[in-house]
Symmetry: C2
Subunit: 302 residues, 2 copies
């Protein structure tokens, strides 16, 4: 597979990963015909047929850099995406961001109801760890992936970042505090996507230099992702974003644009792109997709 | 430890397990001084200093029956208890049961706020899987425990049972449907507690007969647990229960008492106690604590 994929354009490669991720998610989620049907239908509504799938792309790209089998990467990528989707479902609820639109369609608590949205998020988190139990992964890999994903999701990862985010509404964070918040809220899971891809490889535990390089790469693109998100919040419209534009500014949330201004934010995104590419030099051609993804993160339109 | 513990009375044994579980939870939860402090404080508020710890007791009892090390059982027991506590925190929220009192103190969304309660539940679920990564457990055990716990927690386990419960409010379930709901909602995690205790043992994978016996045992006590809960809901007061008494009846929720009546429910609990003891005969003295716990489940006052 790796040989064939090396010949693909980046666009064809991303399309191939998106297609296989959608099919894998279909398979890893319980069918809508399984009891309780309404819950399963809502889990599938939340997870399927939308999203940029940035984390699955990163997971596959990192896995290809270390020669991991595609079937193992499917399981890891779907587990990460389920965690990401659960966080969106809960984040959109009235008690949190109270958003009605996500990925261009009504949020789960609007389409169904609040109790269902709560359970959809809870069950998707469990489903992520069920998915890591897939037979394509060996037991020691399953354990290593569990440790990585749980740590990136929890109170010193994504959920912790959301807690800091909540507390920061209406306050003026300094840049170091803003970076801590985003390193947890979005950075931890993006970093986990890269690390988990590498953990699916045959020699994942044995090359600390490669692991360190991947960590530098993912720190840079994690931050870049957020900076670009903040730029989009003030420059793009809701239709392009698939969610409500200008919401952070309206909610009084601190952003890179509100702290640095638009021009300095754009310069920061470019600087981080350069840091990401620099981290990959030791990998040579194997890291081609990771490099292309760093460009995608900075250049994307939504 | 097993030799010493064999000499303990049941009361002294449960006290010893409760004490070590509380200490282990203290250690497995992030300190309240770690950022974000408010989230960590609320996680500890939810998980520490209360609860009957039925699942940790079952986990330790099953582990002792197969000769599992106590430190491994601490990790498994705390992971299960964190899942149980997260489900209580979310279940008490206004979108679900809207309850203000739990374990004799204000629920998390009352003591803190709804957004914090949402994140506390989310982060406790992650923390459960972080806890399964404890060094006292070997990687293949971690993986097996993850598969067991995730499956028991998710949409065809606990969360699925809660979804069926939500849909059943105000309807009149027949007994088979009520049993399906409870087999998922509370039974799945009680069964997981027993199975996970057994998985901590040295020969866990190699004795299908023992595993089957433990499954029969946990199916019986899982159901008994719910029947007794339903009896308490109509016979006990809120102070004894540590939560609002009569709430299921008031909410129009189907219960064993509403379907079978009080006397037949009590007879059913006794029948299930007998089934639980019968399942344990092959274990001999090693299953002493499991037998005593079956009695506790049926005879408990809250």
């Amino acid at each position: 597979m790796t040989v064939l994929q090396a010949e693909l354009s980046f666009k064809a490669w991303t399309q191939a990963v998106l297609t296989r991720t959608e099919a894998a998610l279909e398979g890893f989620l319980p069918p809508a015909t399984t009891l309780p049907q309404r819950l399963h239908e809502a889990m599938r509504y939340a997870a399927l047929g939308g999203g940029k799938r940035v984390r699955p792309l990163l997971c596959h790209a990192a896995g290809e850099a270390v020669g991991a089998p595609a079937e193992a990467l499917d399981a890891a990528a779907c587990a990460i995406e389920m965690i990401h989707v659960y966080s969106l479902v809960h984040d959109d609820m009235p008690a949190m961001d109270d958003d009605a639109m996500r990925r261009g369609k009504p949020t789960v608590h609007i389409q169904y109801d609040e109790a269902t949205a709560l359970l959809v998020g809870d069950a998707l988190q469990s489903q992520a760890f069920i998915t890591l139990g897939a037979p394509a992964l060996q037991a020691p890999q399953q354990a290593a992936l569990m440790r990585e994903l749980a740590s990136a999701s929890g109170s010193v990862g994504m959920a912790g970042g959301q807690a800091i985010d909540l507390e920061s509404v209406g306050t003026r964070l300094a840049r170091p505090e803003l970076e801590t918040m985003h390193r947890l809220k979005t950075g931890a899971l993006l970093r986990a996507a890269v690390r988990m891809g590498a953990l699916c490889g045959p020699l994942s535990e044995s090359n600390p230099a490669e692991r360190e390089a991947l960590d530098l790469y993912s720190a840079a693109i994690g931050l870049a992702f957020q900076v670009v998100d903040d730029i989009h919040d003030v420059t793009a419209d809701s239709a392009t974003l698939g969610k409500t534009a200008g919401k952070d500014a309206k909610d009084g949330k601190p952003t890179y644009v509100s702290i640095l201004g638009l021009d300095a934010s754009r310069a920061l995104a470019e600087q981080l792109r350069g840091e990401a590419h620099a981290a990959l030099t030791g990998f040579g051609a194997r890291a081609r997709r990771l490099g292309e993804l760093a460009d995608l993160v900075v250049d994307r339109a939504n």
